[in-house]
Symmetry: C3
Subunit: 346 residues, 3 copies
Amino acid sequence: MSPSDGVPISLGDLAKACGVPLSGDGAVLIDRVATLDGADKGAIAFLSNPKYRNRLATTRASAVIVSPEDAPGTALPKLIADNPYATYARVAAILHPASAPAPGVHPTAVIAPDARVAASAAIEAHAVVGGRTLIGERASVGAGTVIGEDCSVGADCVLHPRVVLYPRTQVGARTVVHSGAVIGADGFGMAEQDGRWLKVPQIGRTLVGADVEIGANTTIDRGAIGDTVIEDGVKLDNQIQIGHNCRVGAHTAIAGCVGVAGSTNIGRNCKIGGAAMIAGHLEIADGTVVSASTGLFESVHSPGVYTGTFPALPHRDWRHVASAMRRLRSIVERVRALERARSEEA
Amino acid sequence: MSPSDGVPISLGDLAKACGVPLSGDGAVLIDRVATLDGADKGAIAFLSNPKYRNRLATTRASAVIVSPEDAPGTALPKLIADNPYATYARVAAILHPASAPAPGVHPTAVIAPDARVAASAAIEAHAVVGGRTLIGERASVGAGTVIGEDCSVGADCVLHPRVVLYPRTQVGARTVVHSGAVIGADGFGMAEQDGRWLKVPQIGRTLVGADVEIGANTTIDRGAIGDTVIEDGVKLDNQIQIGHNCRVGAHTAIAGCVGVAGSTNIGRNCKIGGAAMIAGHLEIADGTVVSASTGLFESVHSPGVYTGTFPALPHRDWRHVASAMRRLRSIVERVRALERARSEEA
Amino acid sequence: MSPSDGVPISLGDLAKACGVPLSGDGAVLIDRVATLDGADKGAIAFLSNPKYRNRLATTRASAVIVSPEDAPGTALPKLIADNPYATYARVAAILHPASAPAPGVHPTAVIAPDARVAASAAIEAHAVVGGRTLIGERASVGAGTVIGEDCSVGADCVLHPRVVLYPRTQVGARTVVHSGAVIGADGFGMAEQDGRWLKVPQIGRTLVGADVEIGANTTIDRGAIGDTVIEDGVKLDNQIQIGHNCRVGAHTAIAGCVGVAGSTNIGRNCKIGGAAMIAGHLEIADGTVVSASTGLFESVHSPGVYTGTFPALPHRDWRHVASAMRRLRSIVERVRALERARSEEA
């Protein structure tokens, strides 16, 4: 069921590869990862969330990855890691390596004569690479992906099928872009005159750093005059919209369905929850956390967790709350009147 | 104006095909559907919403579909149905059959040598079918659609142009997938370590049942370890995002722009309104209704209608309400103080 | 860095081309636009937002575009415009003309024998044009774009790579459609019967006017019986979803991530903020403004600004507010009880 259940590896070798201590029989052979509940012989599972601690006793895994605190809780062969989830990520990458397409250009791909494609790159069926574009070593360009003119795609990038890079887009090394993503389209810039909209040419670019991941059907517009910048190590989930001239700081993670309007600067190491909506021209401090579904309309100067969601209620209760909300101003005034009356009496 | 105004059929034959009673002249010929207002000779219209009942008197349709209660309200030839809208759906499907592409593989399509494509399937221009993938009888694969390795596409499926199925995705019989949908992309799984994100390999699959419909630009990520599952008869509108390891129960309908974070189980026969946002790791009971634009952050154990939206107000009124909301805690305290003062007096 | 830094043009010629007064040396040569801060020799910048007025003193631009009020604030050669941003848009279009692909059909494009493609149109690699479809003069159809049967694409349209037009879609002259947009997919129409969903054939069309812009990954469904209509001059940002049978009035602008449910009529010259969600079957008056992130569930008969967003708060404060909101009904009752008690005493 897994993509590449393959060559078994000993637990001892996994410990060495991950740089974590081993406890128990290092000769046990592991060929796949699994959940504690779903595991059986040959599988390694991990415990990260204390909520699942009792599953340690019943798992049929051949080995587990646990924290030092949880290690005494199981007699199974184990890797002991301060961050079991991170060690799990490394183990899974060893046991289930992503399959890379073979180097070479598919005969149906259309490559401009003056594009420069590394010999070690893989260009799949029906891909299109524009003039003067560079495709780096070992990069892969999926089927039907269209890359405009004057782009650069760094070494070891993976562009999945049906990505679009508009002209002059730059993508750093090892960055992964999922299907349907559109990078570098025109920003939404228009001048209003006499009830009509005049298009403002969008002459900037989109610059995507190294080690970035961009989810399926995410869109990142290019800059109006300057550039839209996604810094190194940023992780963007699916169906995110980033407006023109935004900057997303290094190692910030943004969950699915988030919208960021133009010219907003999101700091480094921020975490933005799913479906949050961030207005334009804001400054968001490094390390800020925005909760899911929260609309953010003001800059954030002190990092912290920011939330603004309406709690879901049974519909009948919601009707009463919504009705009271519409009258909230008068309620405040009535409370004030009561207070005033009391203080006059006193 | 309609796609296939075609061979007229008698009202009597329509009644038989739909299994509903006929009233009036069964010989009248019908060649298309229309609204009550837009209909004229040759058209059949339906009345489902009582709000439009008065239009029965003025419609120029040749026949109508009505409920038993509304039947006496018109002298026109008619089909009498307990569920006029469902009967309308059947009649429209008879009068306006979807045009199916001719079987065969377009010469520009790229089919892996070890893919197995049914002879009755239609593979359109520039489609790509990966190794070991199965394409079922009478399935159609639209222009530019990319299907990865080890997928299966059931009989009578329709994949519209420019769909992507990542490797190992399974799609059941008669399922329709609209353009731009991306099924089986990597889930958003990352382990944080020292301010960096480590990618967690996503080794599960996406399994889509039979009779499902998936809207344009909708994305469904594959599972992290286990699978993401969309059960039979689920209907997904456009631009929906379903996170890794979700399960959507049979016959649930989800309107456009909804986001569902990872590992959430949505029950059977649920209805999720447009732009609702559902957090991860929740359990939503069978038959639950979530209103449009509602953020759901807790599991739902008793089915019912759940709502959580801020009522839109004229901007000036909203400013007052929003300002009062920020002070809501102090208002509650002031009410309590007034109550306390009163009870002390009493 | 800009797409086409090119032939310099004198400030005097720019003034003439834009029909605005010149002040200062009209012979100064300009070859690109820039921001006030980023400009240097050869660049023209503009001042529209009074907040940046102090930058006029320090800019190194060769010329500026300013309002009559701001003109005395700088000794630089300048264009004086009532609407500096609109004049900037014109100047930028002159200095940075969009590059048009050369006319002709790429050999890998697949054009139905009975499609009619103007000789001056450009059809790029791997594009697909269906039977009986018309492609107008000087239109360009991007790489991998798929146009169904019986469509029409007006003169001077630009369809960027990887757009999909479903059969029978019409697009007016000079309209621009960005990558990933899907126009004319099936609306979300289903009749419920016995816990199952019966598909309602969607037999209408999508009609898009002239001078429209449609953003990346935006979706517009075709009508159920009648048509979905996007009138002239409408501007749609990225990732917008427009349901079946909607009408969007001329010159309305809609920002990114907005959803509009089916059968809603949005008037002319409306402005809809990002991530707003508009319910189905509404009438929105001409000139209405809907704020970002606002859910609109009732028709708007008097134009104005409508807002309904929950203010984002530090998470701890939000918890208190959310908790008070759940009890809002009882708070209202307690205030009423206090008022009653007082009035009985009086």
